[in-house]
Symmetry: C2
Subunit: 390 residues, 2 copies
C-alpha cells in the first residue's frame, strides 16, 4: 500500500532526473562572485559549473551545471511525505539546511542537491523489509491490521544534501547531510480505497528506531567510494500528524567524521513548533510571546469590518523563540484597502510582535497572496510588499 | 441583467459600510510620525483619527478612525468590474492612485477611501437610465438584443478617492479623484442564464461617452456642500476584455479647480499594457524590452527540467517602459529547489530584465506563491524572499 502510494506520488511528480545536455552560453550569467568554474580538470565535456548566487550570508549557494540546476538524484521520492501534511515537506527540507548550517558554514560550503543516493535506492530503503527488498529500513509486515499489533511504518522520508567546497576552481564533495523523517502517526488502510486507520508512534520509539536505522544508513553510505571519506551528518525529524497546522521538528543529529562507520553520539535538539493563538488547554513555551501575538491579533482584526483569521506558526528552541510565520486571511479587499492594511501591519507588527527573531507576515485572500511583510532578526522595521498587477 | 449581476456582487462582497463604534485604545499605535490626531475641534465623540503609516515616500498614508480603517462609502459597488477580468480591478484602483499622484503629492496629502458618494448613489449612476432611475449614466435600454443595434452599457465602474491635508492637527478634504471605467466590450445575455454576447465599444466611442458622463458627475458632485469647493480630478479608464491577461489603462484625466462645474480640458494619457512574450503578429512599443524578456525567459526556463510558464505584464507610457510584473509558474518543487531557483533569478533578472523601472517577479506553484523578487526603479539589485513554514 505504502509502496503503491509512494510510487504514484513519484510518478505524479515526474522525476526528470536526467539533465538535458544542451550546452548553454554560460558566461551570460557571469555577474556572480565566484560563480563560474570549470568542473574538474578542464573537462569541457560535462559542461561548466556555476553557482546560483547568494542572496544573503545566511544562505548556501546552489550548483548549476551546464545551465541546469543540479536536481536531486532521488528527486520526488522524499516528496511522498507531502501526502498528508504539506507543512512537513518544507519544514523537513529547510530544517535540514538549518542543521547543516551548524556543521557546514554557509561562507565556506556550497549546497548541492543529493547526488549519491538514487531514486530507487531511497525507495527501497523507505519500503518495508521483505523477501523482495532486503534493504528496507521499515519493519516487516507482520500481517496484523490492528493499530497496536501491526508493525508501523516508522520511516516516512529520507533525503540527502551535499555540501561542496571550492578548491583550485573546482567543486568537491566535503560533507553530506542525511535527513531521516519518522512518523508520529502511521496512516494505513486495511483494504485498498478503504478507511484510513492510525498507528501512533511515540517520540521515544520513533527516535530509537531512527537511531538504529541511521547506523545502517551510515554503513551503507560508506560503501560508496565517493562517500567513504567525507563527514556525514545524520538528522532525525519527527513528522507532524496530518491534522497539524505546523510541520514537524528535528529531534537529534549526529556528526560523523570522515570514515566513521558507526554513529558514536547524538546531539539532542529542543525544537518545538507552536501554533498561535494557542489552543485552550495548551500553552506556549513562553507566555510573553503568546500575549504579544494576542495583542497583535486583536489590533489587526479591528482594522477591517471583517477579517477571517490571524494565525502564526512559531518555532522554539527550548523556551527561546526562534522565529514566526504569521498568516492573515482576508475576505476580498480592494487594492487601496490592501495598501493601507499593509502599512498598518508594518506599524502593528513592529509594535506588538516579539523582537530579535525573524518574522514574516503573509496576507492572503481567496485570490492568493496580496501582500507580505518581513523582518530579519537583527532589524527593527518590517519591509513590506503589496502584490499588484497592470 | 446588469443590475442583477451587480447587486449579486454587492451582496457577495458584503458591504459592511457602517463602522463599528467600539472605541479602542488608540495610543497603542502611536509609533507613527504624525499619526495621532484628534478629528476635528476636540470632538472625542467620533473617536480619534490615526494614519496607517507610510511604507515609502511614494505611497499615501491612509486614514484610520477609532481603530478601524475608514472604508469606502460605496465599498463593493465598483468591485462589480471583477466579474470578468480580475486584473481590471487592481489596475483601475492603483491606476487611480497613480493619476492622483500627478496632482496630489504623497508628501502633502493623505489618502482616504471615498466618503461622499454612497453605495446606492454609485449603483444608480452605474445603472441604465430608466423611468425608475433618472440618474443612470448608462443609456436607456432600447429593447434591441442585437450586438450592434442595442445600447451598450458603457460605464462599468465608478470610484471615488479622497485626498486630505492636515492642518492644526486636523484632517480636511482637499481634493477628490473620481475614476470612471468604460467597457471595451459590454458582455450581455439575451435571457437569464443564457449565452453571453458581446457589444464592442471602440476606444474613441468609450472616451467620448465617458467625457460626457464626467461633466454630469462633476455637476452632481458640486451639489454636495462638502465637495463644492475642492479640486476634483476625473480620470477615464478603459477596461480590458475578459480574455485579456492584463488589466485596462487610463486614457485621460481632467483637473477641475475648486468650484468648477464643467470640465474644461482633458490631458490624454498614453498608457499601454503589454503581455510578454508578445503574441505573434503583435509588437511591443519597445523591441529591446521584448528581446530582454525573451532572453530572461529562455535562461530561466532552462534552470529546471520542467517549468510551466514565464510571462510578464508590462506597462508603457508612449514608448517608455514604466514597469513590469513577471509571473513564473512552476510545477511542484522542493524547498531547496525554490531557494536555489530564487537565488538564480536574482542574478538572471538583474542581468537580463530592463533597468531603471520597478520590476517584480513572482514564483508560484499550485500551492500558491513560493517566492518573489522585487526591485524599485532606482535600485540595481533585486531583493528576494522565499516563503517558508515551520
Amino acid at each position: 500500500m505504502k509502496t503503491f502510494r509512494r510510487k504514484q506520488v513519484v510518478k505524479r511528480l515526474r522525476i526528470l532526473i536526467a539533465l538535458a545536455t544542451v550546452p548553454l552560453f554560460l558566461a551570460a550569467c557571469g555577474n556572480l562572485s565566484s560563480s563560474n568554474m570549470s568542473s574538474g580538470s578542464g573537462s569541457s565535456k560535462t559542461g561548466s559549473t556555476q553557482l546560483t548566487g547568494q542572496s544573503t550570508d545566511g544562505d548556501y549557494e546552489g550548483v548549476i551545471k551546464s545551465g541546469h540546476y543540479q536536481t536531486s538524484k532521488s528527486r520526488g521520492v522524499t516528496n511522498s511525505q507531502d501526502s498528508g501534511n504539506t507543512y512537513n515537506l518544507k519544514s523537513f527540507e529547510s530544517g535540514m539546511l538549518n542543521v547543516s548550517k551548524k556543521v557546514f558554514s554557509t561562507k565556506k560550503y556550497v549546497f548541492q542537491e543529493g547526488q549519491y543516493l538514487s531514486s530507487s535506492t531511497v525507495q527501497n530503503w523507505l519500503d518495508r523489509q521483505s523477501k523482495s527488498n532486503d534493504t528496507g529500513l521499515n519493519p516487516k509486515d507482520n500481517g496484523s491490521k490492528s493499530p497496536d499489533k501491526r508493525n508501523p511504518v516508522y520511516i516516512q522520508a529520507l533525503e540527502e544534501q551535499d555540501y561542496m567546497t571550492q578548491k583550485n576552481n573546482k567543486l568537491s564533495l566535503s560533507g553530506v547531510t542525511v535527513g531521516i523523517a519518522v512518523n508520529s502517526v502511521d496512516y494505513y488502510k486495511k483494504e485498498q480505497y478503504g478507511a484510513t486507520y492510525e498507528t501512533k508512534i511515540s517520540k521515544a520509539a520513533g527516535l530509537a528506531y531512527a537511531k538504529k536505522a541511521a547506523n545502517t544508513v551510515l554503513q551503507r553510505m560508506r560503501q560508496k567510494s565517493a562517500l567513504k571519506n567525507v563527514p556525514i551528518v545524520i538528522a532525525i525529524y519527527r513528522q507532524a500528524s496530518n491534522d497539524s497546522l505546523v510541520g514537524g521538528t528535528f529531534m537529534a543529529y549526529s556528526q560523523n567524521k570522515a570514515g566513521a562507520t558507526t554513529v558514536k553520539d547524538w546531539t539532542a535538539l529542543g525544537q518545538k513548533n507552536v501554533v498561535f493563538p494557542v489552543e485552550s488547554g495548551q500553552s506556549a513555551p513562553n507566555s510573553n510571546d503568546a500575549s504579544s501575538f494576542t495583542n497583535f491579533k486583536s489590533q489587526v482584526e479591528n482594522f477591517f469590518p471583517n477579517l477571517s483569521g490571524v494565525t502564526a506558526q512559531a518555532q522554539y528552541d527550548g523556551n527561546t523563540l526562534q522565529g514566526m510565520h504569521v498568516n492573515i486571511n482576508t475576505q476580498f479587499y480592494s487594492q487601496t484597502e490592501i495598501i493601507s492594511f499593509t502599512q498598518y501591519l508594518q506599524t502593528a507588527a513592529q509594535k506588538y510582535l516579539p523582537t530579535g527573531v525573524p518574522i514574516d507576515v503573509k496576507v492572503s485572500s481567496t485570490d492568493g497572496v496580496q501582500s507580505y511583510l518581513s523582518r530579519a532578526s537583527g532589524e527593527k522595521k518590517f519591509a513590506s510588499h503589496v502584490f499588484n498587477s497592470y
